[in-house]
Amino acid sequence: MDWKTKEKLIKYILLIFAMSSIMFLTGIVIVLFREGLPIFYKIGIIDFLFGQEWYPTYDPASFGILPLISASVLVTLGAMIFAVPIGLSTSVFISYIMPKSIKNFIKPTIELLAGIPSVIYGLFGMKILGPFLKDIFGLPTGLTALTASIMLGIMALPTIISLSEDAITSVPKKFRDASLALGGTRWETISKVILPTASSGIVTAIMLGMGRAIGETMTVLMVAGGASAMPKSILKPVRPMTATIAAEMGETPVGSNHYQALFGIAIVLFIITLSFNIIADLTRKRFYKKVSGK
């Protein structure tokens, strides 16, 4: 084999590998919609999305997933209320105040948080945080939406800190110099020049953090309590979409209405996370336009 054909061969082999992840994605989407779409016809989109009762194995069954969607939204928003202030102040502190030598140590450490398996977060929430919140608020059980929110917040922190820190550091240095030269204090420079410039990058970070939180399964299965009632309070147990799929899929007969409904939930979840990713992508593009001045 001469080197030219060899090169060509290698090129095509690499092409196949490169296309494989796109193939996997298409395959997953096809299966998801093929298995899950029928339930939308059978139940009706409105009844499926806005029904308030989830009783999939009874006769007659109810397939209303509003309590599950609300639970996912509730714990995700709760997680962001917890994670955004902490994440933002951390990233401002890391990028502007902390000396570089410490930064090179702190940032990788925070990113390590992302590498902890979610079942460990779940254990921590179940055994430490849950009982703690139960005692503080005098609750009948510590497995609540609040517990899940705090755990998801901690899990979203590395994404938010790392990406918003990148956004803040990529604001051109001349912006800061100009502000300081005009007599702005450091706080004025951060709050009126740096953060507004980096805002779309920060939005990207938050959207990706939200995507992480809403798709998280093991932790919410362990700490959210799993009650399928409409969430009335953040101190009550709730059941997010992911936990429902994980808990029920194992023993559901293939092809049954229940099975299709679980895939239906997966479709809803997929569309939500997809839109988070698209929004994150659009704001990221806007951000780079802004800092590059084009």
Binding site: L143, K236, A247, E248, E251
Partner: protein, 271 residues
């Protein structure tokens, strides 16, 4: 050198593959209920150690197991319920004759936190708690404390039996906490003062308190005798009266050794 090693390795692997195929002459397939699965799995492991056979065990649910028996694709169908008339008709039409063998009893204990003064409930009380009509232990003569209802995911076999016998098929209150395993239910009850839950008999220990149901305390003898109300028999169905390997395996499960394994897996032995 490396190449030689590779050839040698693949040769050894191919050889072991052959011995595997040639060695296990007889095959036995078992399929069905995930409740019976641990019993079948354990029995198969021990049986294969002592006999030169190959047993493959699969779950998939009672309905799937019986369907496989009707199609003739499995030798033994595990089931946590009795066969339905419709399934018998289908089997006979296909030339198969399902024979039930009761292999174990499955009892479900109702458990509360050890500090809870309540130690007996009626099936009616349990039903009212699980449908949300009773929300405070005070209503049953206990302390003034909210009842934390703990249930299993609605596709589990334990849920199915409990819901059928204790809740009589009515809808469990949506504010019930869902836990995905017997162990998780036990853990949550042990850590929650106002909790009530239900677990297989094998999961009882001093961290939780089993209540009497209709005046009967759950233990192996009350479940085996049928006195304890929340219990069901577990079956293995064979095609026709078992012969040869199938008969030997069923006898093994029913033997003293097999029934000891039944107990180790958290079920109630027949004797």
């Amino acid at each position: 050198m490396k190449k030689n090693l590779l050839i040698l390795l693949s040769f050894v692997m191919v050889m072991s593959l052959f011995t595997g195929v040639v060695g296990a002459q007889e095959n036995l397939t078992i399929q069905g209920s995930s409740t019976v699965l641990p019993i079948a799995q354990k029995a198969a492991e021990v049986y294969m150690e002592n006999n030169n056979v190959n047993i493959s065990v699969r779950g998939g649910g009672s309905g799937n197991g019986i369907a496989a028996l009707i199609d003739g694709t499995t030798d033994i169908a595990d089931a946590s319920r009795f066969i339905k008339q419709e399934e018998v008709d289908n089997a006979v039409a296909n030339g198969h004759f399902p024979v039930p063998h009761r292999v174990a009893m499955d009892g479900i204990a109702v458990v509360v936190h050890p500090d809870n003064p309540i130690d007996k409930l009626t099936l009616m009380d349990i039903k009212q708690i699980y449908t949300g009509q009773i929300e405070n232990w005070r209503e049953l003569g206990g302390a003034d404390q909210e009842v934390v209802v703990i249930s299993r995911d609605s596709s589990s076999g334990t849920f199915e039996v409990f819901n059928e016998i204790a809740v009589e098929g009515e809808r469990v209150t949506p504010s019930a906490l869902l836990q995905a395993s017997n162990g998780a239910v036990k853990d949550t009850v042990a850590n929650t003062k106002g909790a009530i839950g239900y677990v297989g008999l094998g999961y009882l220990d001093e961290s939780i308190k089993a209540t009497k149901v209709n005046g009967v305390f759950p233990n192996n003898s009350t479940v085996a005798s049928g006195k304890f109300p929340i219990a069901r028999p577990l079956f293995m169905f064979t095609d026709g009266w078992p012969e040869g390997l199938v008969a030997d395996f069923i006898n093994f499960v029913l033997s003293a050794e097999g029934q000891k394994m039944v107990e180790e897996q958290g079920y109630v032995p027949l004797h």
